[in-house]
Symmetry: C2
Subunit: 256 residues, 2 copies
Amino acid sequence: MARDPDPSLELLWRHVAAPAETPTRRGPRQRLSVDAVVDAGIDLADRDGLAALSMRVLAKELGLGVMSLYTYVPSRGDLIVLMVDQVLARRTLPELPEDLADRLEMVARVQYDDCLAHPWILDVVGLRAWLGPASAERYEWQLGAVEGIGLDDIEMDQTIALLTGFAGNAAGSAHRARLAEREMGMSELEWWEANSGELGRVMAGRDYPIAGRVGQAAGEAYQAASDPARELEFGLARIIDGVLVHLGRQPRRPRA
Amino acid sequence: MARDPDPSLELLWRHVAAPAETPTRRGPRQRLSVDAVVDAGIDLADRDGLAALSMRVLAKELGLGVMSLYTYVPSRGDLIVLMVDQVLARRTLPELPEDLADRLEMVARVQYDDCLAHPWILDVVGLRAWLGPASAERYEWQLGAVEGIGLDDIEMDQTIALLTGFAGNAAGSAHRARLAEREMGMSELEWWEANSGELGRVMAGRDYPIAGRVGQAAGEAYQAASDPARELEFGLARIIDGVLVHLGRQPRRPRA
DNA sequence: TAGCGACGTCGTACGGCGTACGGAATAAAT
DNA sequence: ATTTATTCCGTACGCCGTACGACGTCGCTA
């Protein structure tokens, strides 16, 4: 019975249940802290993405031997879980507005901002990261935005999932657009130059009337680099209206 | 000027522009076909996930030497791109219904089904996979569902992105629930047994009133294993209503 | 105060990955 | 019959996460 508990649980909650722990430890003091390791991991992932976060480069970044990392963190996977909770913990959650639609909008915008600031979070969703203190607190905060408006418990959960899922998608889309723009100077443009002819040749005979027109419009709009943000506005407005209608309330309709 | 064209483009469109190619090739005939390799990759990824799709095991699966794979496919990344387009190509797209809401629903359900049948697709979105023939055809089909209803080009694109993005999220959620249930017999249940005490101890002092209640309700509902599907119904209804409202039409409201 | 034992540090090593390279076999073109 | 393009594939390189064990450093107990 009762096997060893998951070590990452204790690590996740290390800040809230810290006191009354074993007050003295024998060997040499740790040169760094778990937080320092996790923060360095976050910096690295922010800069170069999750794939570039290897134990070796992280150790070098910290001036540590590779295996020393494992005295702070049981594995790379656990480190990433800690990183997610740490990122969520950094944001002090704003107070929820009075108006319901404004509350829904705020939930989505907070999620969007966090996902855009740390796009690697999107590679990791659904990793039972909700067991950390910051995840729990945020989930509670999100549910507070839809509490007492006439939804049952399951609908509350699904509404939050709908909002945050959409915000994450929009952030991912914006992030990819940002990446593409950054590389546009060199490789992306060259790629088109080298392949547009081939693409036209290969698509000969086939035509995509609507996709061609829409793709061109979207391409022009996105090249202005300001429009992935409009994806957030558009989808968010539709979702909010849909929820309002579901509650029998008046949709927001006119915008600015 | 004009560097070598991307080889994966020719591979993606290999079926439509096949004739008039070099009619004879010198060396020994290939024992397999690109399609056989791609299909085997799809099977493998369906069974064990993208992470388990390594060139070595794929080669073993096909009775080939590892490096022989590279005569069919330039790299693992290109293989995955081909796999995505192949998966999309397998579905014959149904005819779109008359009613607008039904059309939107169908777009979402098709996306949901494909993503649930091949969950690894979700790890790959936004990989400029849309340059393949099946992706192009599907995009055209999706846009056809929102053509002529009063949206401008960019709104059309964003509506499709909203629908398919949500459907993908819902499919990922359902897939994770399915996985959890599959492992519930052994590891998941043991994990809770080993950690529930630790979790309670560590969360002492903190309480999450709404999250606790909702989490319990969701847990009970999801344990019935039939409810991740309701996430699709709920969010889809909200989005469709939101789009209808945006167009000045009457929302669907009552549902069966 | 001596020394035991726990703990932090880290070098080495193992099995896995994607794939660059080059050689042998094969079949069409000359 | 020779050349040439192509397939097949063994070997090898540089990555990856991490198991293991040696070694030094400290706190505790005797």
